[in-house]
């Protein structure tokens, strides 16, 4: 057993515990900030892209492709201009499509959007290439007034297989709905039609977790009833037979272009998209392109944050330098004693730089732990608010780079105080203390 340089460093750090801990905390916060930003940069985009799954194009009558994606993939709002059912059917005839899925938004349950669609939505539309939709309980809808509930909705409302519910026409704030009858005329609850929950979906980590799903006919029957009420306030409850072409409306179509192996997929999509655009009333959106656009906006904001985090990191380096430099007065005598005992100036220099690097290492490790905690919190908020799942994992390469840079920065910060230690005059520092 022997005393080591490391013992001396450790003792020096614990002797000024308050300064050491606050310095480490400063470094940790900077590192955590940096890591969280980098982690979100990656997984944020992935989470966004997941929602559009394997669709190539989204056709709607929204005001712009970006709005179309925000509505159709993220349920931001209900599109106001419908597409006729015949128009939709013509799409599959006119274009070489692998599949086309009709979707209709506008109904809601306690503020959660209800998506009316066909069974193909669950059969051919996939969020992941290798995994389809999976049910936590029950089965998919088969008939009118059967409804399937997304994971977040089930968690928030307590709906389970067998639960019954009323759907309100038009997306409205939950507070307005709790009041009972029609609120503001925009939305009203159809108590005439009782829906039964037949299935609960597993979480997908996308906005779809915040939605409920039913077939198109269910929505069309409600629409037909509203139309009947306009003519006769005491009109009988409508059924499947009462639906006319005026009711058969959808708000969007998810398209996947048919591709043959060996052909360039993106150019095939391009061809279909530009032909679709020849009808100026249609809005044709390529999800990856629109999400890319969204992320150029978000990305430049993120770069600003990363820049700010970098400034915080540099200032934490300065904090290390100041903490060590200020401690030099106190440790001059210790340095002098070590020199008397045979310690070279170079080794003294090394001790101070190593202490500085230690602050960087401890700050880096604490920062990594802190960032994991931070990501859990940010992840929980994003999941609750937007149904987006952000992996609580750090990007390994960036994390390593950030931690290494932190340690390098900390070592660099140690050079100035280490120079002061190097130059400490033994003769002067050993004068008897008054």
């Amino acid at each position: 057993m022997a005393l080591t340089d490391f013992d001396i460093i450790r003792r020096s750090m614990t002797a000024r515990l308050f300064s050491t801990v606050t310095t480490i905390a400063t470094v940790a916060i900077a590192v955590a900030l940096m890591l969280v930003l980098f982690a979100m940069k990656d997984s944020g985009r992935r989470a966004f892209e997941r929602g559009s799954g394997n669709m190539h194009l989204l056709v709607s009558r929204d005001s712009s492709p970006l709005v179309s994606i925000l509505n159709g993939v993220f349920y931001a709002g209900a599109p106001s201009n419908p597409i006729q059912w015949q128009e939709f059917q013509q799409l599959s005839i006119d274009y070489p499509l692998e599949w086309a899925i009709p979707v209709q938004l506008g109904d809601s349950y306690r503020g959660f959007p209800v998506l009316a669609t066909s069974r193909e939505f669950f059969d051919v539309f996939r969020l992941d290439e290798d995994a389809g939709w999976s049910l936590a309980a029950g089965e998919l809808f088969d008939d009118e007034f059967e409804i399937v509930v997304g994971a977040t909705v089930a968690g928030a409302t307590g709906l389970d297989v067998g639960s019954e519910l009323f759907v309100s026409h038009g997306i409205a704030a939950p507070a307005a709905l709790r009041g009972g009858g029609p609120a503001g005329g925009e939305s009203h609850i159809h108590t005439e039609f009782t829906f039964r929950v037949v299935g609960v979906l597993d979480p997908t980590g996308t906005a779809h977790d915040r939605a409920l799903f039913m077939n198109l006919e269910s929505s069309w029957i409600m629409h037909a009833f509203d139309r009947a009420l306009l003519g006769n306030p005491n009109a009988p409850v409508t059924t499947l037979e009462d639906i006319t072409d005026a009711d058969r409306l959808i708000t969007g179509a998810l398209l996947r272009v048919a591709t043959r192996p060996g052909r360039d997929v993106s150019s095939a999509i391009q061809v279909v998209a530009s032909r679709l655009r020849s009808d100026p009333s249609l809005t044709v959106a390529a999800p990856s392109r629109e999400i890319g656009k969204l992320f150029t906006i978000v990305g430049s904001l993120q770069n600003l944050f990363v820049g700010m985090a970098a400034v915080v990191m540099v200032s934490s380096g300065i904090a290390i330098m100041l903490a060590l430099y200020n401690s030099m007065e106190q440790r001059r005598r210790q340095i002098a004693v070590l020199r008397v005992l045979g310690c070279s100036r170079g080794r003294i220099f090394g001790l101070v730089v190593t202490e500085s690097a230690m602050l960087g290492i401890l700050g880096g490790i604490s920062g990594a732990i802190l960032s994991l905690v931070g990501l859990q919190i940010v992840g929980a908020v994003l999941k609750a608010q937007f149904g987006l799942v952000i992996g609580a994992t750090l990007p390994p390469r960036e994390s390593l780079v950030i931690v290494v840079v932190t340690i390098a920065l900390a070592s660099l910060a140690g050079i100035v105080p280490a120079m002061a230690a190097y130059r400490t005059s033994v003769a002067r520092s050993l004068r008897p203390l008054g």
Binding site: D7, R11, G342, G346
Partner: protein, 232 residues
């Protein structure tokens, strides 16, 4: 690394001069001084006679304006920085008036700190330090050094100076902050510790009561006067 030669004097000084600013009258001016291995010498002088400065020159912590210092046959100022530090760590022990123990380190760690810069195998550091502290009568070897009594701190300081078995021990006013009883005891410990390890001892003091304990007593003032006479 040059090792001290048993045949060479423990300390030999030739024409040593030191001034804090070039051209100013030298603070230290020793034409010649020699100490045989294992012998003990007292250097006396009033305050401002440059006693502490002499020890810092001898230990290589200060560079002289001119002249040479040989410790066990090695010209200490001929060694470069790191080699000189290593030489000091292995062959010179120092004891101070205020002990200069490392705060926050226990008694035994203070002694082990000296061994960090020696060539004693690391596995022996603790045992060697413990038995030396036992020999010198230090009781609470794991207590923080600053919590020990003055007498005990003095012993830790002595242990730290002699643990590397140095050829030369330099003691700077070791009794100045002690009462007469403690002072006598402290000198007993220092002198016997050096004698037991055959280390030469140079003690500087302005305390006349110490003189009777040394066979070889030199006054810095007389050394300088002799020089001036010779050159006159």
């Amino acid at each position: 690394m040059p090792d001290p030669d048993a045949q060479s004097p423990a300390l030999r000084i030739r024409s040593l001069r030191f001034a804090y600013t070039p051209g100013a009258p030298p603070v230290v001016d020793i034409p010649e001084l020699e100490l045989a291995p294992g012998r003990q010498m007292l250097l006396t002088g009033g305050s401002g006679s440059g006693k502490s400065t002499v020890l810092q020159l001898v230990s290589g912590l200060l560079d002289p304006s001119s002249g040479e210092v040989w410790v066990g046959g090695t010209n200490i100022h001929g060694l470069s920085g790191a080699r000189r530090d290593a030489f000091r760590g292995r062959h010179i022990g120092m004891i101070f008036q205020t002990f200069n123990l490392l705060h926050g380190f226990s008694a035994i760690e203070n002694v082990m700190a000296a061994l960090m810069f020696s060539d004693v195998p690391r596995s022996e550091h603790r045992d060697r330090s413990r038995s030396l502290l036992d020999d010198l009568g230090v009781e609470r070897i794991d207590a923080p050094a600053e919590t020990l009594s003055i007498g005990q701190q003095q012993r830790v300081a002595v242990a730290r100076a002699v643990v590397v078995e140095p050829a030369l021990v330099l003691a700077d006013e070791p009794t100045a902050s002690l009462d007469p009883d403690n002072a006598a005891q402290a000198l007993d410990v220092i002198q016997s510790a050096c004698r037991d390890r055959e280390a030469a001892l140079v003690c500087v003091s302005h305390d006349p009561s110490v003189e009777s304990r040394f066979d070889d007593v030199r006054s810095l003032h007389e050394l300088r006067a002799a020089q001036q006479e010779a050159s006159a």
